[in-house]
């Protein structure tokens, strides 16, 4: 059973390597490439796509309807035009939990790493010219 599972994994790995296609990446990164190209993409780009889809799912989770947590003076009007040189008396704040803040932070860090991968791909393409 274990041997057959290992054989299966080996065959999957062989298929992925066999279908690899090293094509240069265009300078304008495409966030959503056409489906017809997916079968011929290198393994690295497939992993990048998977990471992007995971990030999009996370971003949908963070589409919250939030409200301001305001510290208003009693007679202060919210829409009053404030002079930035004075103490506005209106401290803006969001009532966001640490859990959501961490989720957003992890998503931002993943996005940064993804951008670094794409930047490195562009650089390698430029070096290869």
């Amino acid at each position: 059973m274990k041997a057959s599972f290992l054989c299966f994994l080996f065959l999957v790995g062989l298929m992925l390597v066999w279908s690899a296609d090293c094509r240069p990446i265009s300078s304008r990164s495409e966030m959503n490439p056409p489906t017809s190209r997916l079968l011929s993409r290198p393994l690295l780009l497939r992993l990048v796509d998977r990471a992007k889809r995971r990030m999009n799912r996370r971003s949908e989770d963070l589409d919250l309807d939030l409200d301001w947590d305001q510290d208003l003076d009693q007679n202060q009007d919210l829409d009053q035009d404030q002079d930035s040189g004075q103490d506005s008396g209106l401290d803006l704040s969001l009532d966001l939990t640490f859990f959501l803040l961490r989720e957003a932070l992890q998503r931002a860090v993943s996005e940064k790493l993804l951008q670094q991968v794409l930047t490195n791909q562009r650089l390698m393409e430029q070096i290869g010219k």
């Binding site: 589409d63 930035s84 004075q86 704040s93 966001l96 961490r102 932070l105 070096i127």
Partner: protein, 323 residues
Amino acid sequence: MMTVPPRAQLLLLLVSLSSRMGLSRYIEDSDASDGLYSLLSLEQKREAEDFIFRRPLRCLDMLSTEGSFTFGASRPQLACATFIIAEPNEVISLELSDVNIDCSAGDFIKMFDGWVLKGEKFPSNQDHPLASHQRYTDFCSSSAAGSTSRSSQNVAMVFFRIHGANSGFTLTVKKLHNPFPCNIMSQSPEGSFTMVMPHQRRNCSFSIIYPVEIRLTELSLGQAKSNELIPQKKVWSACSGSGDYVELLGGNGVDTSHMFPVADLCFSLSGLAQMKIGCDNSVVRLVSSGNYINRVSFQYRLLERDELPKASENSLDNFCSVE
């Protein structure tokens, strides 16, 4: 007379030919930070630097990359905020452009120098060089001066409210190097950092919004300005009266002035000191008098659920557990 073997003759001929053809090369003394860029030509470098990352901005968003982010309101958005975070040794430059909002109708875009969460500010009012009202840059107050802002630390925020559909703006984020970072928010629950405060009367905090174990690996306090010999500082009780010390704080907010001091150190340390802080926010704070060069190095790692210190029976209800 000694005869030269044919192989040596051939090698000598090849070396001579190579030197005449100028095939020798020197290694360019390129800046280590160039990395792969050092392999590019000038035109290729320019092309790489001209590339700007762009994507739509969400009502609630967190940004950690440079780029251009455009918000377009499909419906009224009355409470939006963008958190921006950079590397510890960077500050953030923000620029608004293509702004299409109606300030007279109550729309606004305000950039804040720091983070605000549940009414608490990071850095705290005590630790920030600017007064509270100076940390806000309001686009509606002055469209020219209110469209750019630069943070004092590695975090910044943008608050905005847009009533009308089809209104919007573009936010451009750039990061600038900060050689002596003070007041840092960590991007990750694990890592290491060294805070250096050279002859400045400032209080600097390194904030980690996770429960972590902190290990102080190096602490150097009290290196005098002059060359005169000064005896090693002795252990002081509770660091009271000491102008230079490190304190570890724990709490459930981002304002360090509202957090509980769990430990403080006012003597130079060469060994290890560690502490588990089972709070939502764990902070290493370096207090400096300005008389010395102070330096603290530490490592931190995320505490797993089963590692969180158990709160004792007599602990305060609103204080997280520390071990």
